[in-house]
């Protein structure tokens, strides 16, 4: 393995720690959720003691979307009290998603935004690497929220644009689109057949907010619960469709998938559908209503006889 360059120290980290400490000292928040350095790389950390805010870091290993801790399913986090949350541009879109769907009050959280220049695909590393086309998380390419507006604080200097990955997600989606129907079917059923139905994709998703998931309904049982190809197909399609127009492309479902199903391709395809049909791009504006749950009288209907 060739030696890879480490990333320069993130310039905003002192501001990040200072803001977290001030928020905790003033009692504005009870806990700050951010990132810390640990044995296996960066990981989420809950800091409630102002003296411990020096733990907080930010670098290219901070891939996690911490907004998942604001998901109303995690009411034990909300019970801690008001939260200060460290968020990247993509994560802020998930906050906007929760606000848009009335799952969160803006007063419940203080958002500490970090200007992000992209993250690594593989985060369990002892040191933050400089991004290259080989190691960058593909979703970072073309990021459209590098200056988040929804945040209460914004730290760090403007970062360089993330490098273009060897193959972008759009290119992979286009490659699938170009294949004949039978090959797409073979590709996806093969991918879905790997699914072990651990539901990690759902658990980590900041926007999978149902108290009772459809997959847990047993009377009637809509989705077969055992891990076999037919039930897996139903589950994976349903999960994707339920995120249509809501998914913020944080990539956590794919990162958490223990069997490596390329869920980001499915999510990206849905984003394309939303863009092409409804001219919709998910953003960090809570007023930007999602297309599903809304309609226009002149919506496309070329597929309807």
């Amino acid at each position: 393995m060739t030696e890879q360059a480490t990333a320069p120290v993130y310039a905003g980290v002192d501001d990040l720690r200072r803001i977290a400490r001030e928020l905790l000292e003033a009692g504005d928040v009870r806990v700050v959720i951010g990132y810390e350095d640990a044995r296996r790389g960066a990981r989420p950390v809950f800091v409630s003691d102002p003296a411990e805010t020096d733990k907080l870091i930010f670098d290219t290993r901070c891939v996690h979307n911490l907004v998942t801790y604001l998901n109303p399913r995690r009411d034990h986090v909300a019970e801690l009290g008001k939260i200060g949350l460290v968020v990247k541009g993509c994560d802020v879109k998930a906050v906007a998603g929760l606000l848009r769907e009335a799952q969160l009050s803006r007063d419940d959280v203080v958002l500490i935004g970090v200007r992000c220049g992209g993250v690594l695909e593989e985060n369990e590393l002892p040191a933050a690497l400089a991004l290259t086309p080989e190691n960058v998380a593909p979703r970072c390419y073309g990021c459209d929220n590098r200056e988040p507006t929804l945040t209460d604080h914004l730290v760090g200097e403007p970062q360089p644009e993330p490098p273009r990955p060897v193959m972008t997600i759009d290119e992979r989606v286009a490659a699938l689109d170009d294949q004949p129907l039978e090959e797409r079917w073979a590709f996806w059923t093969d991918q879905f057949s790997k699914c072990v139905r651990c539901y990690a994709c759902r658990q980590v998703c900041p926007l999978c907010i149902c108290e009772q998931c459809i997959v847990e309904k047993t009377q009637p049982q809509w989705i077969e619960a055992s891990a076999h190809p037919r039930g897996n197909f139903s589950w994976n399609i349903t999960r994707a469709v339920h995120l249509a127009g809501r998914c913020v492309d944080c990539g956590e479902c794919e990162r958490f998938c223990p069997v490596g199903i390329p869920l980001s391709l499915l999510n990206r395809k849905l984003q394309h559908i939303m863009r092409d049909r409804y001219d919709y791009t998910v953003s960090d504006d809570p007023e930007n209503a999602a297309p599903i749950g809304d309609y226009r009288l002149d919506d496309q209907q070329e597929f309807i006889k």
């Binding site: 699938l176 689109d177 129907l181 039978e182 090959e183 797409r184 079917w185 073979a186 590709f187 996806w188 059923t189 459809i214 009637p220 809509w222 989705i223 077969e224 076999h228 190809p229 037919r230 039930g231 197909f233 139903s234 399609i237 349903t238 994707a240 469709v241 249509a244 127009g245 499915l266 395809k269 849905l270 559908i273 939303m274 049909r277 409804y278 297309p291 599903i292 749950g293 809304d294 309609y295 226009r296 009288l297 919506d299 496309q300 209907q301 597929f303 309807i304 006889k305």
Partner: protein, 172 residues
């Protein structure tokens, strides 16, 4: 390809709204219009009530094709159910195509209560499309031992008894 399936009778599930298409299908019947008899109708209050999961469920239970039909735009009994459905099915149609489901197996239509003749055409076209595509073996192969066969011919229907219709079996 067409020749290979000449003795194949497609099994098609139709999810229709109570107010327009169901009544339209009723009209087709009372008007004595001849049409393919491969369709089992499931009546729902509105196209807005039709979850895309219904379509997946129909395929799971052995349908070769699916029809979804309801009131024309601006005619919805509940004002806007069909508009919401239109978006939902547009997205579902596109993503199913992306994962390799032939869109010709899914027919979407607007059929009003007065359009018995249109319902006939929709049914005949859907049956012809699916007949050409053949049995949906690819989907059934996902769980080769698990598919519960539908009553296939009229003899089977009679044997199944008056209380159990094919439509109810699919709806469970």
């Amino acid at each position: 390809m067409t020749d290979a399936h000449t003795d194949f009778e497609p099994r098609i599930t139709a999810f229709v709204c109570n107010w327009c298409t169901y009544t339209g299908a009723d009209l087709a019947g009372t008007s004595r219009l001849h049409m393919a008899s491969n369709v089992r109708i499931i009546r729902l209050p509105c196209t807005g009530r039709i979850d895309p999961l219904f379509i997946i469920k129909a395929f799971e239970r052995g349908a070769d094709g699916v029809i979804v039909s309801g009131c024309h735009p601006a005619d919805c009994h509940y004002t806007s159910g069909n508009y919401h459905a239109r978006r939902r099915f547009a997205v579902f149609h596109d993503i199913m195509e992306f994962v390799g489901v032939d869109p010709r197996r899914m027919t979407f239509s607007w059929v009003s209560a007065s359009e018995g003749a249109k319902w006939k055409d929709v049914v005949n076209e859907a049956v012809a499309n699916v007949r050409e595509l053949g049995p949906y073996e690819a989907y059934r192969a996902l769980a080769p031992d698990a598919v519960e066969p539908w009553p296939q011919a009229t003899d089977d229907l009679a044997a199944a008894g008056a209380t159990t219709t094919a439509g109810e079996e699919v709806a469970t």
